[in-house]
């Protein structure tokens, strides 16, 4: 008997870069990628704009940005020379699942030219490094850390909607309120951290400037964190003593890699990843009872709830300002204290998952991970992670059992 994936996908074309071998005129790895992609597009007649999934050894962000496409399935598996066979397998699974119809698997590696121009980069998280033209055209201006970049989006968001910085400060204040109910939060109390415990909007506003308009209390912390979750089949789930939290919907997207390519500074690709997740779930924003959103900065959280359809454009901050997102409010958000006050190690996607599981499995208030008033009654939760410079997003719609 054939397996479920039998003939569920096919390779429909294959092509190479214009020049391969020992090139006289050195080429970057990026160039080799792009030429091959163009050639396979022409060979098959599939326009580059129709590519929905991008699979590469760490290059997918760079490739999508360079091509100006917005994928809905992104894979950067880099496990050595066999990675591309794995990519085929992953693409097949994504196609079988009905998430995408057109997958690109791409390779470019200037093993020879690198001797002259560098940039071989087998599996860098962001492919091209120095050899990336977006890097080349932005490195002169000294921006490296996330707040250096994100502040530009905040200024545009403020300008477009007439918001003040204080509007966003409420997000930091309310997130701290949640942290004071979570003994594991870095900012749980004054005893735990000298700057811990409750804060006021005024304190957020008056704290040290990092990149105007972002003061330090508008920014997430950088802590240590480790976490893990297990995802199982329904059959295995039924055999366990823990409560399952069901993945009702999932979606992903990316708008750009470098903020230089962010078309609209007031919107992220979460509008696309959320739409995919809601559609898969057969649920919408109105069905959500709480949210866990990446809050690298207050502005990240504000824009994200707008993208998730939880607030009108420009009004995301009101969820916190009017208390709906706060402990005891009608729509709890970031009930662990968020990256702003719980923990943020650099990549905050895992704490989002863990807190979502705890809330929907009724284990958010065990005295270790939560004091009284931290457990909400929510049975549905939308989770959204944001990566890069407001670049890539992943959205999950989770629902409690029964």
């Amino acid at each position: 008997m054939p397996g479920t994936l039998y003939k569920s996908a096919a390779i429909v074309g294959a092509a190479e870069a214009n020049q391969i071998g020992f090139l006289d005129e050195p080429a970057t790895s990026l160039q080799l990628h792009i030429e091959a992609i163009k050639n396979v597009s022409e060979q098959t007649g599939i326009p580059i704009s129709s590519i929905e999934g991008v699979f590469s050894t760490g290059w997918s962000t760079e490739l999508c940005e360079h091509l100006g496409i917005t994928p809905k399935y992104i894979d950067t598996t880099a496990v050595g020379g066999c990675s591309f066979e794995l990519h085929v397998h992953h693409a097949m699974a994504a196609i079988h699942a009905g998430i995408i119809d057109v997958a690109l698997i791409s390779h470019g590696e200037n093993g020879h030219s690198a001797n002259k121009i560098g940039g071989r980069s087998l599996n860098y998280a962001r492919g091209a490094g120095d050899a990336s033209p977006s890097h080349e055209m932005s490195t002169a201006y000294g921006l490296a850390a996330a707040p250096n970049h994100y502040a530009h989006a905040m200024v545009r968001h403020m300008h477009r909607y007439g918001n003040t910085r204080e509007d966003y400060a409420h997000i930091a204040k309310v997130s701290r309120d949640w942290a004071t109910l979570n003994p594991r939060a870095a900012m749980y109390s004054k005893e735990k951290h000298p700057f811990g415990g409750p804060i006021t909007v005024e304190q957020v506003e008056d704290s040290r400037l990092i990149t105007w308009p972002l003061t330090i209390l508008h920014c997430c912390m950088v802590t240590d964190h480790g976490g893990a979750v297990l995802v199982c089949s329904p059959k295995v789930a039924a055999s366990l003593n823990t409560k399952p939290v069901w993945i009702a919907g999932a979606g992903e997207s990316m708008g750009h890699g470098n903020m230089l390519e962010m078309e609209d500074f007031t919107k992220t690709s979460a509008r696309f990843s959320a739409e995919a997740a809601y559609t898969m779930a057969g649920l919408g924003p109105k069905d959500m009872e709480m949210a866990l959103v990446y809050d690298s900065f207050t502005i990240t959280a504000a824009i994200t709830v707008e993208m998730l359809g939880l607030a009108a454009p420009g009004e995301g901050h009101l969820l916190w300002k009017d208390g709906r997102a706060a402990p005891g409010g009608s729509f709890p958000i970031n009930t662990n204290g968020g990256g702003l006050s719980f923990n943020h190690s650099g990549m905050y996607g895992m704490p989002l998952l863990i807190e979502a599981y705890r809330q929907l499995s009724g284990t958010a208030e065990d005295g270790i991970h939560g004091d009284p008033r931290k457990q909400t009654s929510a049975r549905t939760c939308v989770v959204n992670g944001t990566g890069g410079s407001l670049s890539t997003t992943g959205t999950l719609v989770l629902v409690a059992d029964d």
């Binding site: 990026l30 100006g68 055209m137 921006l143 530009h152 500074f265």
Partner: protein, 138 residues
Amino acid sequence: MSYDKPIPSKGTHTSPFWEGTKAGKLMLPRCEDCNRVHWYPRHICPFCHSMNLEWIEGSGEGTIHTYAVQHLVFSKWAKETPYVTAYIDLKEGDRMLTVLRGVDPEKPEEIRIGAPVRVEFEQADEDTFIPFWRVVEE
């Protein structure tokens, strides 16, 4: 040589831009098929995916799309803080990052989104002139 800020390492397909800066010109990549200018320079037009690209001399004019004031950076720019960075909408289309000149970093509220700016170039080393944008009178 007094320039001590980061100097970009140059790619294989961007030399017309860097050559232009030496002559005080802002060279921009344009697609011969859809006629749109894009920034940063590509191997392929990001709008229509044509590979027929050319370089044109830009006007060097633009407007402020958004901005921020850097108070904490870890590069050689650290000693210049606070300084203003901005994204510039190019007159020809698409957008460029820059360090903005002719503005007061202590008065960020007075910087105006949409204000006209003009490019200028500062020599960084023998081969490199870095573009900066300056707010101009309307």
